[in-house]
Homo-oligomer: 151 residues x 2
DNA sequence: TCATCAGTATCAAACGTTTGACAGCAAGCT
DNA sequence: AGCTTGCTGTCAAACGTTTGATACTGATGA
């Protein structure tokens, strides 16, 4: 490296990949939140319900790991959703201290309504990109995730 | 659309583009935070310093719009960075109520150190992807952002 | 058997952000 | 001039999350 990199600071920061990534994610998240609000649901609630739906019966701590959030954050969401009757905590058959998480019928219905909204956003994106480039974007994003996690 | 989409809920949610987007952004953000911590700086601080560096002299509210955060969040960050002597607020020449934001020398130095860390992460990603696909990823992400913002 | 260890859940406190409301300043208009 | 409108910055309160600490359970190994 004989090049003279002694710039005061990178001036090319605006067109970095991670910058574009942040902007895109922020925009998507904002739109989701906005569309979900009329249904009385936050994006975090939807994410949690969807996770429980796809893998019923796992514990809060385990769920927290999958979503990359703290166990307390999950507990907070679970408490709220349980209060609404959309989620239910059952005692684990073997480990008494552990609680399995399951969706109630009301929870399934709420998730169904929310997922229509989310799926619509997803559809708008994939239609704009086209099927080929959507798949490519997914691949690239997964590769970035893997690279960064291994760092 | 004669297809029967009456699934109880999308079971394909795990390989949606927006899901991959969330995972990737989360991983990148986590790594940034982790690498920036030893320097006593949060990712939000870095972002703010970088923005002020690239466009000095703009007001807090204007800065908030560029970063897609609330003015209060900016004010909070500015207060902290000003307390550290990395940022300075000057009275606008015409509008007395408005305050221009400028970096101090200490701020420039802190930004330089932080940017080495961030640029290293960026480099790791772009090297892993290759220049061609990095550019493509950037393009796709920008398109997603634009599509979603127009929705 | 008993002791240690890993994993889960819960509590309390600190932190950062959002929301809502307020006051000040400049430009535009009647 | 006087008035409205738009934008700015600040304050206070509510909310959600993280951090740190604690109690309990089941499994592991001496």
């Amino acid at each position: 490296m004989t090049r003279d990199d002694e710039e005061p600071v990178g001036l090319d920061a605006l067109d970095r990949v991670t910058w574009a990534l942040r902007r895109a994610e922020l925009a998507v998240q904002t739109l989701k939140e906005q569309r979900l609000r009329p249904l009385g649901m936050a994006a975090a609630h939807y994410t949690l319900l969807m996770s429980v739906h796809s893998e019923p019966g796992l514990a809060g701590a385990e769920l927290a790991r999958r979503l990359d959030v703290t166990p307390q954050a999950v507990a907070s969401l679970v408490a709220r959703l349980e209060g609404r009757g959309q989620l239910e905590r059952r005692a684990h058959p073997r480990h008494r201290h552990v609680q399995e998480l399951h969706l109630t019928d009301a929870g399934r219905e709420a998730l169904r309504a929310a997922d229509q909204v989310i799926a619509d956003i997803e559809r708008r994106i994939t239609e704009d990109l086209g099927p080929e480039e959507s798949a490519q974007l997914r691949t690239l994003l997964n590769r970035v995730g893997k690279t960064v996690r291994d760092a």
